[in-house]
Amino acid sequence: MTPEGNEKTSARWTELAMRYLDGRLAPSEVEEFNAGLRDDPAAQAWLWDVAQQATTMGDLARQRTPSEMTWLPSLPVVGMFPNWVQGFLAFALLLATMVATAAVFWPRHNALATIVTVTQVTGDARWTSGGQVRSGVALGDKLAAGTLAVLDETGSLEVQFDDGTSLSLASNSEVVVSADPQKQIHVNEGELFFSVAPQPVGKPMVLHTATADIEVLGTEFAINAQREQTVLKVDRGCVRVRRLADGRTVDVAEKQAIVASLDAATPFRPSSPQSPPTDWQHDITEPVASTSRGEWLPASADDPARIHAVPCLAGRAQEGRAAINYGVVVRGLFGSNSTFVSLTNESVLHLRYRMKTPVAIIAFLCAKIPGGQFGANFEVTIPWQKDAAEPGEWRSADVPLSKCRLLRAGCAQAIDGTELGTLFINSTLFDAGLEISELAITQVSARN
């Protein structure tokens, strides 16, 4: 008896149900599946019956004798043999049981074996696995298979496998890593860079995101994975990408990029990513994008549209307490470029802001090199301008980025030639009531 309702609906819903049970239900199909289940008692009963049948068949599978397994030949009856042979067979069976028992426990032990070493870390990085949690991951830590996460706005983490394959996580990124029998990386969200050593034949490294499966044999590439979209940029080598929405597979060559979204109607072909422009202005007339942070306030009779600072996790203090900075975060939007402005020695950060408490502002910049690999972290201080108030207590600042301090070098040591991925304007530990009405990076001062 199939679920009630017209045959077409039933056939469609049962197909969705089978896809759910097979782990292949797409996010776009969830609502239809849930609606069918919610509204139809017959569908609920059908699904429960399937669950009972499946678990019962699992029980029957565990009870099978070797002769009942359709792919194995029947075993001879033991009693046909002389006693000494029976004794030998009994001992062999005991030995096999001991080996099988060890095989049950050995993988469990191996599951705790370390697979990566931390080669670089800033900010708040965490490792979890099987109930164990290690906060404040440190340089040199050896970690087993599990979940790696960088939790704050300014942190980063780099780990390396024994074969030299390295994986870098940017701020607010989370992955699940394993290496048995081949490297598997599940990217829950965030921005990552991979440098993959040649992998054994037949055992490529495989990445899974919400929208794509990616197979890697040996290459360097970057991905930005969100719930609706995965952006992949290949720096060296070739990467095979399968879009989950429709199963299409595309090879992405060196210096190319591709976007895999949940919408199968969108183009799915490699393209040559363009460098972002050297002039950029943040659009504050609309609410903050999902990749950025800050409370957007619309224009009123007295004030322009602006973004109000919010608490942001900015690492952990030595005693383990979370370090909260109050600020506004701007990140690259979706598309083949997750960087939004190219930086040069002539770049100037323009800011129009106001605060309730007179404190200095810190601008933190996370820059990448073309191709997506981590470039460097920089910081510049904007001192409080006592006598520069405009109507409404607004103040303007134009800060040459050539004055930035290098916090952490990656593939770059200077601003020139990098591309900006994250800009974090904050009043550090104080909630100074920071509001920003203009934010831009240009090649000349906005006042000229």
């Binding site: 199939t2 149900a17 089978m18 097979d22 292949r24 996010p27 678990t55 599978a61």
Partner: protein, 179 residues
């Protein structure tokens, strides 16, 4: 008065079918569902605080097992979607009160009576726990055909089991329409 260990074991055994089926709907692997049930049982026996009633124990076990299933999904199948909690409760509400033993016997009898091709499909999917894509490859059919055949087999097995349990020894053979 707190339940004794023997009472805990008996109560969990009676609830095993229901708990395992709920967990299976989350993890979709019978062996994993069994492992989670066993872990839950161990926790029940080693739990610090006592269980006052069987209802308390079974509610606790159901909740603990489902949490274990969600944790397993997060670690082993992070991209898989899990059925919503309230929808799972709706499905669980369709559970009957029949004892497990006769149902197992009925399913075994029904499986023995289905055509070889249909039995092979079920064995690959549920005895060997292979994903449907591997089943399709093994049988030389496409994935939608596997889904269609499985859904028809489940419906037919349900009818066969019900008729066996009702004492109808001439129950029609399931799977005859699965080509």
């Amino acid at each position: 008065m707190a339940l004794s260990q023997e009472e805990i074991v008996r109560a969990l055994f009676r609830a095993r079918s229901r708990i395992s089926a709920s967990v299976w709907l989350l993890v979709r692997d019978a062996q994993t569902a069994e492992d989670i049930f066993q872990d839950t049982s161990i926790k029940a026996l080693t739990k610090g605080g006592p269980f006052e009633t069987i209802g308390h124990l079974q509610s606790w076990a159901q909740l603990t097992a489902k949490r274990g299933a969600i944790d397993w999904l997060r670690h082993h199948r992070p991209t898989w979607l899990a059925i919503d909690g309230y929808l799972l409760e709706l499905v669980e509400s369709r559970a009957g009160n029949r004892p497990e033993g006769p149902r197992v016997d009925a399913l075994r009898a029904c499986l023995e009576s289905i055509p070889q091709r249909s039995r092979q499909l079920l064995e690959l999917r549920y005895f060997d726990a292979r994903p449907c894509s591997e089943v399709a490859e093994k049988l030389g059919i496409n994935l939608p055909a596997v889904y269609q055949r499985l859904s028809r087999l489940h419906s037919a097995l349900r009818q066969c089991i019900e008729q066996h349990l009702a004492g109808d020894n001439t129950a029609p053979q399931p799977g005859t329409e699965a080509r």
